[in-house]
């Protein structure tokens, strides 16, 4: 008896119980006769089980991101996180004229111990591929670095890129020259790329994501930002 080839679409529908009668029976016969097909089915079944397990117990938003007692990671988008922090009164906001009045400047007030280091520490966060926003972040970085160098006030600056903003620090970045120039002129600036975003894009594109030589990979941008906030850094969302 000849067995008609089974498409993935039929296999998928059979797995979901969407086929009946002769069509289902044909697939059952094919599965019995063809170990490779049975393996393909088993793969799909395993994936579906893993899928439902992966979302059985999703993390809930955390109201206090500084509590380390919870084992569940807050998983709050960084911008949102800032709102939560303000809401819980753990940080205060104030405006400073860095590159424009619209830049939000946020600083830990009570949550972090007072740092003994005298250098001002600022983290600039870029999570968008929008050219204007990236330019604004780089302009802010440049102005800060130049102004502090001129006046002799110590500064530590970190530029963190994640999500679609990762393009800023990729090898093919249109801002490569500018970033190289910034780092060659200033020792006190560093560039950090989000490892999660790198993993995502390498998976989507099918090849590893390469960074500019000036950029370092951190496991996750959000973790980096939280740590810096806890240490008393000033956060600016680009």
């Amino acid at each position: 008896m000849s067995i008609a080839p089974v498409s993935d679409e039929q296999l998928s529908a059979w797995l979901d119980g969407e086929l009946d009668g002769p069509e289902a029976q044909a697939i059952e016969r094919a599965l019995a006769a063809d170990p490779a097909l049975a393996r393909r089915l088993a793969r799909f079944e395993d994936d579906m089980l893993a899928l439902s397990q992966a979302y059985t117990d999703p993390p809930l938003p955390r109201t206090n991101p500084f509590s380390s007692k919870q084992t569940r990671w807050p998983a709050v988008a960084a911008a949102l996180l800032v709102g939560v922090l303000i809401g819980t009164g753990l940080i205060r906001t104030h405006q400073q004229d860095v590159s424009g009045p619209k830049q939000r400047m946020l600083q830990i007030a009570d949550a972090a111990p007072v740092s003994l280091e005298s250098a001002e520490r600022i983290l600039l966060h870029i999570d968008s591929s929008d050219g204007q926003r990236i330019e604004r972040v780089l302009n802010t970085a440049e102005q800060l670095l130049q102004e502090r160098a001129r006046t002799g006030r110590p500064l530590k600056l970190e530029v963190v890129a994640n999500a679609r903003g990762l393009i800023t620090l990729r090898r093919e970045s249109p801002y490569a020259n500018r970033i190289r120039d910034l780092q060659s002129r200033h020792e006190n600036v560093s560039f950090k790329a989000c490892g999660m975003a790198m993993a995502h894009f390498s998976l989507v594109e099918g090849e590893p994501v390469e960074l500019l030589p000036e950029a370092d990979r951190v496991p996750a941008a959000l973790e980096e930002i939280l740590e810096r906030l806890k240490e008393g850094w000033t956060y600016v969302h680009g």
């Binding site: 679409e9 990671w73 993993a199 996750a220 740590e227």
Partner: protein
């Protein structure tokens, strides 16, 4: 019909269960706990307002899922960038109570899900997590059942490809404390 009764213990339990299912689905779509929470609140508020439209209790779940989907679509439209997924929001902290390989598999699945487009994720979760039929998914998403079948298959293949790539070259997405 009255959507939820909070007068009885049973009614309150039913509401909690429903809330959990909606949250799980919303989280699988957006991977952002706060957004998922907002979507579920929004969905339940709309459902309570429109509860008189619901005639048959059996269609309650698909009806709620379609409201949730509309809330998610509205949310995406409201965003400046149509970025559906925030990668940093993926759960990725080691949980010592959980077996490492199981934890890694869960992380791989969530990461692999980010390679699917929004519609593929929605169809896949409605069928594989909620166990809905193709007809029910077709109604919720306003597309023909045949289209559900083909897109679902494509979503499964894409998930499989991504998981195979991750199995071949595991990505260390476990967070470490930044010193």
């Amino acid at each position: 019909m009255k959507l939820f009764s909070t007068q009885t213990r049973h009614g309150r339990q039913a509401l909690t269960d429903r809330w959990r299912r909606l949250y799980r689905l919303a989280y699988a779509w957006c991977h952002e706990p706060q957004t998922a929470m907002d979507l579920v609140q929004d969905c339940l508020t709309k459902a309570l307002r429109a509860q008189n439209q619901l005639q048959d209790e059996k269609s309650l779940d698909p009806w709620l899922f379609s409201i949730l989907l509309n809330c998610w679509r509205d949310h995406l439209r409201g965003r400046k960038e149509t970025q559906e997924l925030d990668l940093d929001s993926l759960e990725s902290r080691d949980n010592p109570e959980q077996n490492h390989s199981r934890q890694q598999l869960m992380e791989h699945v969530r990461l692999a899900m980010t390679t699917l487009n929004g519609e593929q994720r929605q169809i896949l979760t409605l069928v594989a997590i909620e166990g809905l039929s193709y007809d029910q998914v077709a109604t919720i998403m306003s597309i023909p059942a045949g289209t559900v079948m083909s897109r679902l298959c494509r979503a499964r293949q894409k998930l499989r490809d991504a998981l195979a790539a991750l199995e071949a070259r595991p990505v260390d997405i476990h967070l470490r404390r930044v010193k």
